[in-house]
Each structure stands twice: as structure tokens, then as C-alpha cells.
Amino acid sequence: MMINPHDDRYGLNRTVAFGPDQPLELDCGVRLSPLTIAYETYGTLNSDASNAVLICHALTGDHYVASKHPITGKAGWWDRMVGPGKIIDTSKLCVICANVLGSCMGTTGPTSLAPDGRAWALRLPVITIRDMVKAQAMLLDYLGVNSVLAVIGGSMGGMQVLEWAATYPERIKNAAVIASAARHSAQNIAFHEVGRQAIMADPNWRGGAYYETGSAPLAGLAVARMAAHITYLSEAGLTEKFGRRLQNRDAVSFGFDADFQVESYLRHQGLSFVERFDANSYLYITRAMDYFDITGSRGMKLAEVLRSVRARFCVVSFTSDWLYPTLESRHIVHALTAAGAPVSFVEIDSPFGHDSFLLDVPAFDDVMRGFMTSVLREAGV
């Protein structure tokens, strides 16, 4: 097979549409159609399509891994990791990242138009992590990529990596599961429910049918983001960054303004989030994460689910991540060990909580560099 460099399937800001002849069979039983997938590719796919790496993004991430975000104008969310000469080296690899199903950034989600010409809103069937992965598999088929050298993801991205290993074990050669879990815990579900209730309590939400009203439930979505954002950090991190310092004032105001820097920071996080994210998408994607239990959905033990795995795994956790604690990663590692799969595991010392995988943590870079070095060497790329 020859890859034409002008083939417009590859590059930044791409979309592919699958018509009624290619429905996506969702876990809930519905055949979803039409389906659009937004994605980006970086680097050049080689002639036998053997240098592809798939990156799976997290809850509020998107396919702008290493290119400027169209709304915020900020660098891609993993720009520090992905690029020419970087740890995931796009001068040697073809990196693919698809926006997940249910999102609001281009792939079919509640903001997309249903066949009746109106936005799906809450009429969109509830989706799962496996549905997201199945959609990615359709994208890989379309791109002519049979198997990927590596599938890599943090947080919800790590759940997709596990789902790839369980659903398409023959299509992945290496896998990196970062700050993730094989199932969503009660605490994880509880925090998500707080976020969803905040959205649904906003009078603008109107049962999800707000797209034609001109006013979205921004206040509810901002509160959801503020609550979630706390879970991505650590107490030590918050203390170091803000402590009890006051925001642009010398004394407390005896009122309910943002007296403290930490309040001001969280308000800012909430307000900037609503500019780039849709409230219904937040409901759908958090639900998909809550439903994620790779064993429960199959009625098997984790080691049995992963017994067909031939991919080499690298599992990483962070000491200060209390949302997806090390124990969850160890659970995955134990199962892979019992299944006889080749697996490496490291717990990285980092003060930044769950968000550590997105931040400048040199020890994490070391592990990822080691992992990618061996991936490239093994593939002869």
C-alpha cells in the first residue's frame, strides 16, 4: 500500500462521516447513525501502516493533542509529550487522536444533529467507554491502520486503552495506562453525580433541551467543573499553590466574594471551562465513565478479560492522585501478571494529584521516554 502524502484523510482538524450503511452498534442496543468522528493525525503513516500510535483523551480533553485549541487558542493538551523529537516522536510515528463519542468538539454527541435535523440533546442514547473504542476502531479502519504500535491514554484515556486490550487485543502491540482504573469506584461515581446534579439544577438546563433557547446551563456546568477540578489536584498541591492567601486584598471582606485565591482560581476554572464545553456532553461522558467496569460488563475476572492480551503494558500511577489511586493501577497490574501478559508498573512521586500526567513531572517523562524508546526499537522505526 502506498500512502499519498496529499491524502486528505491525514492531518489536522479532520472529520470522517459514516452513513446509514455503517452504524455503530452501541452497548445499550441502539444502532447509532449517522456517525461523525473528529480527529487529528501527526506525522506520516509509513507505507505498511506500521508506525501508528493511538492516543486516547480524557473526560474534557479533545483531539487537539498537539495543535492549537480552536476555542481557547492554547497549545494542545499534550503538546509537551507529542511532537517532532518529543517523547512521542511524530518525526518517526504517525500519532492519531480521535475526539470521543459524546463529545462536543466534532465527534457525534448531544450537540450533533439527529436524523430529524434537530440536536440530539438527551435523545442521544447513553454511550459507554467501549462504544468510544468501537468508534475509534472504525476510524482506524478508515485510515487503513490495522494495528497500532501503541495505544496510550491517561484517566478516561486509560480506560479506553484497557477497553482496546479487552475488545481488540490483536490490534495493539503496546499499551500505556496512566492514572486510570479498570472500573469506576463509588467515590468516582459520587463526584460525577455532584457535577451532573449541578448541571440539572440549573434552570437553563430544561431537561437538556436548551440548544434552541439561547441560554445554556453555564452556571451549573461551571459548578460541576469546579467540584471536579478539586478532585484533579491534591491537598498538598492546593496548599502549596494557594494556602490561605487572599485575592487582591489585605483582609477578608466579611462577604461572599472570592476572598481567597483558591476561590478565585476555581471560579476562573469554571468560567473558562463553559466557553469550550457543553453541559449535555458532560453528562454523557461522565455517565460513560461511571458505567465503566471492564470485568462487570463481561461477568469475568479481570485476569480472564485480559487473558488474550499480547500487548506489552506500561501502567503508571501518581502518589498524590487520590481520584485514581495507585491501588487501582496495582489491581490492573495484578490481573495482567496473572494473565501472563508482559507488564511494567511505576508509581511516580508527584505533588500534582490526578492532573500529574498532564504536567511537567520529569520522573514521568523518564518512564514514558523509556517506554517509547523500547516501542520504537522493537518496531524498528
Binding site: 497490574v333 495484578h334 501478571t337 496473572a338 508498573f345 511516580i348 520522573a363 523509556g370 524508546t373 522493537e378
Partner: protein
């Protein structure tokens, strides 16, 4: 490729091609990489330090951050042909339990450790009344990770007590391997034992 440390070279020689090997306390994976590239071994490791695991992962090895005292329980019975514990037994919390777990997981076990019965160690204690600091045990007592030091005779006695079969014993005397038991507990700075599993599954 760099030369293996002498005791690791002896261990490598004792491992047959194509076997499944678990190296506990594998450091940066030097032994495992040697075995993988020279003996086509399915190489796995456990290492306590993050730096060691990173280096091993970069070598293409599969290494889990963990320790011998707590993490062996996760491995299925008889899942490895050989389980290696080099220069680590004396640093474990429960050497007896670690050995038992190793013999459960592996069909054969290779253990090496510094010999506290070496004449230099004896002299240090007997003449100077001080804990020894030697090439095999280079760290002062207040900083060493070695909490369960033993002599070659102690180890043999434990094997006898637990009825572990010693398939082979190699003594490092002045860095040279020897199989002569005579005076080994005085002359050898290190002992290296190959044990076979309690119950053969074949």
C-alpha cells in the same frame, strides 16, 4: 554490551535458554536484558526503585515496581522456570517467607547473598567488636538496608529445616566461583544457591 557483574554472570550461566525468568530486585535490568538478548528468555522483573524500573522499561523489559515481601503473592504457582533473588534476601522483612513464595512461583530458585561468615566479617566483630564494612557489605550498620544478614551455614541450615533441595551451591572466593564446600563459610564473600521447587509439577 557491558560485562555483567561476576555474580550475575554466574546466575546467567545457570539459566537455560528459552526459560521464563523472574528477577526480584532486578535493578536497571542488566541481568534480564542479557538473558533476553542472549538466551531468548521471557524476562520479567520486580524492582523497588522508580529509577530502576524506568531504566528497565527503556531496555524493553517488563518490570513492576514493588518488593519481594509483599508482591510475590500476585504471581500464579509455577508460573516461572527460574526465580532470581540476587543480593536482596538479606534486605527483606521475612526472608523465610520470601524463599517459600519464590519456590512456589518458580520451578527453580537462584539466591545469592553476602556471607556474614566471611573471615573479614568475623574479624571485624571478634577483634574490633564492630559490625563489618566490606566489599560485599559496603554500608555502615546504621545506613544499610541489610536487616537479615546470614552466613552460608545459616542459609544451608534454613534449607535443611524447610527441606529445600539445594541443587547447586557456588561460593565466590576473591570474586572467583568455587564449588568446594570446605571452608567456604569462612573464605567466601558471597554464596549463590540453586534450589529446586518443593513439588514438581511435571
Amino acid at each position: 554490551m557491558k560485562q555483567l557483574r561476576p555474580d550475575l554472570a554466574i546466575i546467567a550461566n545457570a539459566i537455560t535458554s528459552g526459560s521464563r525468568v523472574l528477577d526480584i530486585g532486578c535493578g536497571d535490568g542488566a541481568l534480564l536484558e542479557h538473558l533476553a538478548s542472549h538466551k531468548n528468555v521471557d524476562a520479567r522483573g520486580i524492582e523497588i526503585s522508580r529509577e530502576g524500573v524506568s531504566a528497565a522499561v527503556a531496555r524493553g523489559l517488563s518490570v513492576i515496581q514493588g518488593n519481594a515481601d509483599t508482591d510475590l503473592a500476585d504471581y500464579p504457582t509455577a508460573s516461572f522456570d527460574v526465580v532470581v533473588l540476587s543480593q536482596t534476601l538479606q534486605a527483606t522483612q521475612r526472608p523465610d517467607a520470601v524463599l517459600r513464595e519464590m519456590l512456589r512461583i518458580g520451578k527453580r530458585v537462584i539466591v545469592s547473598f553476602p556471607n556474614f561468615g566471611h573471615w573479614r566479617a568475623r574479624l571485624s566483630v571478634a577483634i574490633h567488636g564492630r559490625m563489618p564494612v566490606t566489599a560485599a557489605m559496603p554500608v555502615e550498620w546504621y545506613e544499610t538496608a541489610n536487616i537479615h544478614l546470614c552466613t552460608i551455614a545459616d542459609f544451608e541450615a534454613l534449607c535443611g529445616l524447610r527441606q529445600y533441595q539445594i541443587a547447586k551451591a557456588i561460593y565466590l572466593i576473591g570474586g572467583q566461583p568455587s564449588q568446594r564446600r570446605f571452608m567456604a563459610n569462612v573464605l567466601a564473600e558471597q554464596g549463590l544457591f540453586v534450589l529446586s521447587a518443593l513439588v514438581s509439577d511435571s
